[in-house]
Amino acid sequence: MLGPFDYAFWVGSFLLEVFVVVCMIYRRVFFRHLPVNIYMSCMALVNCGQYASIREFGFYSSQYAYFYFYTDGLMMILMFLVIIHFYEQVFIEMHVGSYIRGAAMLLLAATALFSALVIHEHQEHFTGKFIGEFSQNIYFVGLVLTYLLWGAVLKLRETRAQLVQFILALGIYFSGTAGTYALQNLFPSLWLIVLHWLPGVMGLWLPAAWLYTIAKVPEEARLATAPLAVGAR
């Protein structure tokens, strides 16, 4: 049964996702960060679909479970495209866009193949299991890509404040979710007490951080290079 906190996280993340898109339109950077806007818009639509599904079939119905995880798989693919968009932005001066897009397509195909190989013996409900396995795997690929992007931002001494904050927020989101998995496996009893709130918090964090970045950080803002980063070179 859903409690008031579940609804609060849900409605809160929906509103923040809508505000991100509205704010991008208002700032006239909608097309500059198109993958981010597509992701946020689709996420808001998925939230509406989830609400309709729960209302029609109930929270414990298999219809809702299928809707939830199928759309989650699609959202992970969109999130993957958002990460690739940030890669293109960071490496924009190197003119390696075609290589980045090629690597992204290879990664997507390899992850799908790997997921299919893992579950190839499970002929029953193959599609459902494939979606679940693929979502997990593409999530961890995204996590590694985000960490590598963090490294690239530091190494290349990226100074565009807006871009850096977008990437940092994404890294915290992925790290928080991966940490939740790890804690869930180490301490299963903590899941019901505290851990089941964390995905909701992370769902709020990402649109909130991106909204703050768009609303408060001017596009021309530049970061002063950290002395530690300079010293490490």
């Binding site: 859903l2 579940d6 996280f9 849900w10 993340s13 929906f14 996702e17 996420m43 998925v46 939230n47 989830q50 609400y51 729960i54 929270f59 119905s61 298999s62 809702y64 479970a65 299928y66 939830y68 995880f69 759309t71 989650d72 959202m75 992970m76 999130m79 290589y99 690597a103 290879l106 990664l107 390899a110 992850t111 790997f114 893992v118 579950i119 409900h125 459902g128 299991k129 679940g132 396995e133 979502s135 997990q136 795997n137 999530y139 961890f140 690929v141 996590l143 590694v144 890509l145 590598l148 979710t177 991966a178 940490g179 998995y181 790890a182 496996n185 995905p199 909701g200 769902g203 709020l204």
Partner: protein
Amino acid sequence: MNKWLIVAVFVLLVLTSAMGLKSLTTHSTVANGTTAAPVLAGSGPAPWHFPPAQ
């Protein structure tokens, strides 16, 4: 050609790192069906198990 070789090595590196990270943080795959599927990109309330019991 050399650049595409680097791309291929990068892809392999990311894939193997991702699977290593996955094995560290989740001790099972969805395929064995013993644990709830994780909540990934979704922000709505997550069902407990996937695929749902038939």
